[in-house]
């Protein structure tokens, strides 16, 4: 079977369930016990409802619910409000509160979100690094108004959202050598899944290298001549968040290379920047003046990565 046909076959196979299940509208005739209905919310929370109704989520639960849960409107997330309403807002009752001075416990808030969203990218939330540090969904997301272009973030961009806690990583975007996150061409989520993943560092792919190969597939090989630390982990030499050194290296050459290359011969001389014989080791691309194919060479004579 030709590759294109194989791909189409796989696509057809995977999309079959989509065809099989039409979108359902499972509305409930009236609010269940304990629920007051969203109309009650508008009386006091006009501005909030107004802003929420303009968001995708608002349109979904307030006007186009797909099932009985979404048909609860505001209460689909905030829980039953009847007691709250009937007490004239004196009592919280069973309400789940995501912000303000006295929010509900984080586990309770997160469970509310996961009740619908514990699937696809969020399947591994429980037990993840963020969950174990008591991070709430509402620490990063807000549904009540559209602050970000997508993902209902609390801040305009993913970078700004992550920077709330990961200041040092975000700060590396200002270094001499960095990827274009500040220009909006990439996002933290281009590489990481903050909701948990089977890989270390919440990476999207199975390993650091496989994450990098998503764009830098030229480094994937396999090559005839492999460079062992490259095969194992790009982060052995690079800091993908940014660096003061060229090529986002963790240390400038030749010192970077000399950390490992202690074989007799030219790799291990300390190098004098004023000595003409050390010129090629110290200036410009330093070790890579000659060892260009340091990520691996597919040249029969490329054993030293110079070809």
């Amino acid at each position: 079977m030709r590759p294109l046909r194989r791909i189409l076959f796989v696509l057809a196979l995977l999309s079959a369930p989509c065809v099989a299940f039409a979108q359902q509208s499972a509305a409930t005739p009236k609010p269940p016990a304990g629920f007051a209905g969203s109309a009650s919310c508008v009386d006091c929370h006009k501005q909030e409802v107004a802003e929420f109704s303009a968001t995708d989520k608002g349109k979904l639960v307030l006007s186009h619910p797909r099932n009985s849960h979404e048909a609860l409107g505001c209460e689909s997330c905030h829980g039953p409000s009847k007691q709250h309403v009937e007490s004239g807002a004196e009592e919280r009752g069973g309400l789940i509160v995501f912000g303000g001075k006295h929010p509900s416990p984080i586990a309770e808030r997160n469970a509310t979100c996961l009740a619908c969203h514990e699937k696809t990218a969020r399947m591994m939330w429980q037990g993840s690094a963020h969950e174990s540090r008591n991070v709430a969904c509402s620490d990063c997301h807000t549904l009540m108004h559209a602050e970000s272009e997508r993902a209902n973030l609390k801040k305009p961009t993913v970078l700004a959202t992550c920077a709330s806690c990961h200041a040092q990583e975000a700060n590396k975007q200002t270094r001499f050598s960095h990827m274009p996150l500040g220009q909006g061409k990439l996002e933290c989520t281009s590489c990481h899944n903050p909701h948990g993943s089977p890989a270390p560092k919440l990476l999207l792919a199975s390993s650091t290298n496989e994450t990098c190969f998503t764009c830098h597939a030229d480094k994937r090989g396999p090559f005839l001549w492999q460079h062992a630390p490259v095969v194992e982990n790009c982060a052995n030499c690079h800091d993908p968040h940014g660096s003061s050194h060229e090529k986002m290296l963790i240390l400038s050459r030749p010192r970077l290379c000399q950390q490992c290359h202690q074989s007799s011969g030219h790799p291990i001389a300390p190098r004098n920047p004023k000595a003409i014989n050390d010129f090629q080791f110290v200036f410009n691309r330093q070790c890579s003046n000659c060892h260009f194919n340091i990520h691996g060479s597919n040249d029969p004579s490329g054993y030293a990565f110079t070809r």
Partner: protein, 753 residues
Amino acid sequence: MRSRAFYTVLYCGVGSVTAMSSREGLAQAKAAVTAKTTADTSTAHAAVAIPDTVPETVPGPVTAAAEIGVRAFSGALTPQQLGKFEEYRDLRSGMLLQQLLLGYAPADGFRWYQLTASNIGLLDQTVALRAKQPGLFDVQLHWDRIPHTFSTDGRSLLTEASPGVYTLPVPRPDTAAFNRAPFIGPIRSVWDPVKLAVAVTPSEAWDFKAEYTRIGKSGDRPMGQAFGGSNNHASEILEPIDQTVDNLKVSQSYAEQRFQLVATYDLSVFQNNIKSVASDNPLVTTSTATGGSSQARTSLAPSNLAHTAIVVGGLNLPLRTRITGSAALSWWRQNDAFIPATSNTAITDPRIAQEPKSLGGSATTDNMSASISSRPLSFLTFAGRFRSYSFADHATTSIVPLIVLNDRSVAPADTARRDPFSRRNADFSGTWQLIEPVSLTAGYAWEQIQRDSLVRNVVRTNERTPRMSLDFTGIQWVTLRASYSKGWRRGGAYTQTATSENPNAQRFDEADRNLERTDIMASATPIDPLTISGTWQVGHDLYPHSLYGVLSDRSAAAGADVSYTLTNRVSAGAGLMRETFVDVMRVQYRTGVQLNNPTYSWVGNNTDLVTSASADLKVTVIPDRLEAGGTYEMSRARYAMATTNPIVPIGGTAAQNTSATAFDLPQVTQNLQPIDVYVRYQFTRDWAFTARYHGELYTQNDYKTLGLNPATATSATNMYLFLANNYQNYDARYFTISFSYHPQLLRIGRSTI
């Protein structure tokens, strides 16, 4: 720190021209909702009438937005100064169609279609098409050009005769002629990622996603090409880039309350249309068997592909227990034809004909994981996780019958070693919620890496890292997160894989290591308008059993941010962060018979210092009429590679002693300071005029590239040809003025503009 997006010219004004007035649009939206409510009584309690407080700017079904402006420089930069200034962007002067939005949202706007574009016609333009119905489908087509300018001041006499073939005149130019070489213009690559993503949710249980991304890469970037041997010279040329990366990813997920499953298939195809690059030898015009080749040729990245299949499942059990598992298998293929072992036609060794034609490259990775998380009591959470990752290389070719060293000498057969390895991780933690906002976590992580003894010195390492963390969260006015971890990595016996290796040297990724990390992050809002946050991170990696190699790595970072809302018209913020990294390494210069001369040791002390600061201010002079503000950022870095000999080198020849004598490498400094000030005047609620001033100061002092000549002869037979390129300093000042028309609330989602 505060927002890092200071490179981007952020335009607060959003232009929008609607097909009907805002009030009409609002009326229509309300009518639609009311109609829906009336018609479907079954959802009467869900459909909520939009309150009267909805801003009057909800547009009608058709929305068009644009921002048009002019950019002008005060004192233009020279073309050679544009390298860093335009590293990832295109900031030319003249008319600008900076932002564009076209939207269509029929009926009540539940389903919408949108075209957005920015920086239209420029090298960094973005165009996106999107169609969405929340809860049912989301289709996106996104084209985002990414330029990467490496420099604009390179000089060379090389002529590109055909893609990837660089020639020099005969007779070869001398050093002086090379140093008169003309500028060759921007050295730049451009990526053109185009992504089509389809997400369909036909029911609450099923999700289908398909993504196809094609990244076209073009342009060139600097590369080094060695000629080697006794004439140990090299030339810096341009690597021509004509590549594509095609990624297709399809996934299907099924979810119900108790059980969730996602299956994903990912195909990645890399195609390099230029397989090698060749350039003329600046010192040799006639190839000889031992004197070198008149032309060197270097292979470029071979085309390859990878298939990856991933299955992830989750199961919810009683006692708030959840089990997840995943399996990912990947298969990589690479079988590009090898280029000939040498470009030197004077070398006629018959073994050249016996060279294998291609690698028959095949590698597999597998990643298996299982995790369990349980919260049997409301204040107690346990989590455990195991992961196994392995990389196996199944290349059919490993023995290379002949290697031609730098096109001038022949070495015997060699084996191209493969590098299989595996990595296993386990992690266990328990979290005790002391009182509602305070939780204490104790954890233990283990990592084992297994490597091949033919390639690496240490076959197996085990690292064990206990950790503690304290999190004070869940109340609005204060957050405190603190963690401490201390780990130990220990390896087995050291195996020397080559006689030239220093048996006392340990590579940093295999060596015994003691690790220590402390992170503290705090944020407080003592009074409503004031928020103060701080971060403090300290790390220390000590390599206790390494005589040579990396001895220690230390890092420290401390930062603070303050934001203050003076009144509802004035807000300001400021941030400061200082980071330090210190890497200490010891190396023994080993040469000739001086393999174990203790006085030939030297110590490298590599220090990075980075200071970043920011400030911002926003003032609403006249509400809904006149606003002003600005941001200032500063990033200053300095790194030094100090080098010393603990003992004065003695014992060898004078030349050897000199080579063993340590010298500091010169200090490198970098400094970037952008400032952005704007004034916006709103004629009406929607129409606005914005004037901005942008200033950006960049200075660097990097001995590696600063002041290099295109040609440097180190002896009669050694010459180094460089592009002599460098990110030049600049002090850019430019103005933009723009007109926009922006509704405060766009029905079809918030745009990026």
